[in-house]
């Protein structure tokens, strides 16, 4: 089922490691952690020692020097055990590291990447604001130039994953007007940054999601990532890759749901035999299985394009659009196959059901993925 043909020997070995770790260290606790809303920060840090927090970081900067395909393979395995833990992995490897890797100066790479790859520093990515989500260009957080070349950042950020424990923040703030007036910064947490409480959510209870208030936070001139005014481009290029990891996360959630449904259907008896003999149980399982494989192939295809340095904006959007829907449908199918037990908090089905939904929302809603795909096809005509 997981033997995607695109995977090489190395990717399979990494998959085996991630699976062993997820089955041994995450899955046995996922139920309790989610029930208790426990964010397992120590576990996330431990993944640094295994190399799982710097997968695409070059070896010269202390990373594993692997590709996005490897990251996706890891994401699916971790998400299969727990979606909340997996998004911490996605943010660390993706949203926090990629802007530094692709837009940072040599000094910035040398300063941040080794510590992030080792898990000694954990990162977050702060783009969304209370009044600017899909329309990221409408963000209002300001970075005002100080006389010495440094900046003073003021404003509010919303829904920031890893925010409750992150040491490092990639922040997008306005240094001028319009979509070309946004700049990217990377900074340690410090005075002037107020981290809010975890925002209560439908699911993903093992993930920290907070509001941040920048209250005139001082950052030095060396904090700016990329050129002034390039921030939106940095943000969107980062999300192009981030989406692929979320597609992989969705595949992991869908796979967990499928496996649970298959196992249960073989064991549960009704009307004198296992419920697996009913076509009404078989067909939803078959549909999810086929769609999951399709979603995974789209995901690996988008990752392969990124690895080859080719355009992948539209392919990533397609992968996330499809995979997130499969996750939601798979979780729904799983609850249905488990019947009353599916609705019970004693079984993981209801957690998968609540967790799956987020994949259709963050790193671009499914509507936004459709906008991206449509613009790719229709060009200027789509912009009206």
């Amino acid at each position: 089922m997981t033997g995607a043909p695109a995977l090489t020997g190395t990717h399979r070995e990494i998959q085996a490691l991630a699976r062993e770790f997820a089955e041994g260290e995450i899955a046995p606790h996922a139920g309790d952690w989610n029930r208790d809303h426990h964010v397992p920060v120590d576990l996330v840090r431990r993944m640094g020692a295994l190399g799982l927090l710097g997968i695409t970081v070059p070896e010269a900067y202390g990373g594993a020097g692997l590709d996005y395909t490897a990251l996706c393979v890891v994401m699916e395995e971790i998400a299969r055990a727990d979606a909340g833990v997996s998004v911490a992995v996605a943010v660390q490897n993706g949203l926090a590291q990629q802007p530094i890797l692709h837009h940072g100066s040599e000094a910035q790479k040398a300063e941040w990447l080794p510590l992030l790859a080792a898990g000694e520093l954990l990162g977050a990515y702060a783009l969304t604001e209370p009044d600017a989500g899909s329309d990221a260009a409408a963000l209002r957080t300001r970075a005002e130039a100080e006389g010495d070349g440094g900046w003073r950042i003021s404003g509010a950020k919303m829904w920031i994953t890893n925010g409750g424990f992150a040491d490092v923040f990639v922040v997008f703030a306005r240094t001028g007007a319009g979509s070309r007036g946004i700049s990217a910064f990377v900074t340690r947490t410090g005075p002037g940054l107020v981290v809010g409480k975890d925002i209560p959510k439908l699911g993903l209870h093992t993930s920290s999601t907070v509001e941040l208030t920048f209250d005139g936070m001082r950052v030095g001139p060396e904090a700016m990532l990329g050129a002034p005014g390039e921030g939106l481009r940095v943000a969107l290029a980062t999300l192009d890759g981030g989406r692929i990891t979320i597609a992989a996360q969705a595949c992991g959630i869908a796979r967990a749901a499928l496996e649970l449904a298959v196992e249960y259907a073989g064991q549960r008896t009704a009307f004198g035999g296992p419920i697996a003999r009913f076509q009404g149980v078989q067909f939803p399982i078959a549909d999810v299985a086929a769609r999951l494989d399709a979603a995974r192939l789209l995901t690996l295809h988008a990752a392969a394009l990124r690895d080859a340095g080719r355009p992948h904006t539209v392919e990533g959007a397609k992968a996330k659009l499809v995979a997130s829907r499969v996750a939601v449908d798979a979780a729904d199918m799983c609850v249905q196959v488990l019947g009353g037990y599916g609705y019970s908090a004693e079984f993981p089905a209801e957690r998968l059901y609540r967790d799956a939904k987020i994949t259709e929302i963050y790193e671009g809603t499914s509507e936004i993925q459709r906008v991206v795909i449509a613009r790719g096809l229709l060009g200027d005509a789509a912009r009206g």
């Binding site: 190395t10 070995e13 085996a16 490691l17 062993e20 770790f21 295994l50 799982l52 594993a64 692997l66």
Partner: protein, 260 residues
Amino acid sequence: MKIAVCVKEVPDTTAEKRIDPSTFRLDRTSGDKMLNEFDKYAIEEAIRLKEAGAADEVVLVSMGPAKAVDSLRTGLAMGADRLVLVSDDALAGSDYAGTARVLAKAAESAGADLVLFGSEATDARGGVMAAAVGEVLGRVWITSANSLAVDGGSITVERQTDDGVDTVQAPLPAVVSVTKAINEPRYPSLKGIMGAKKKPQEVKSAADVGADAAQAGEAGAKTKVVGIETPPARATGTKIKDAGDGAQKILDFLIERKLI
């Protein structure tokens, strides 16, 4: 000091196993393979001894098909230094004694002072290989080690037995099999996985390690499998009804089976 850890590629423990009805051998051609779970404890112990400065090389030694390198590389990813796999068509169908002769030669030619084993392999579950290799080599052999310490030319082992724990001292060279209680094997890191590809992985013939293929393989086997049968379905358990003496009856049952 050099440590050889004898390791084995086994079928994925979660997959169903199939015995070839014509040869009575386990079908090893299909399905996913993996490093025997029990061997990881022996590898971990060897790596720890190396990290503590008590050993300078950890060599994985195995006998099996050449393709087994792929599964056994996990041990290199964990931290072992190199792999010697004896792979020879003439060795197919080896019984325990034949396998022991080959492993003993391979460990000896690797220059091992200490030879470590896991307690058993998940496919055959014989649990005799450490003793057999110890006999072939004419070395002290100690099974079921819960702990292992090396001090100059001797080792101290705590052994799990039915009645308690024995502390055993022996001179090197020696052969030891370890239990799952001895340590918590590490996960290989991504760097370990990448680095393992560059470590020496030699596939050798029986002659290369100085083993006599005629003493092993089907021809050299002193045992012959003449038939296989599915074990009878388990009888239903005994129900104990509590009539005041329920607890005593359960106690007696457990004591009789040496479970407590």
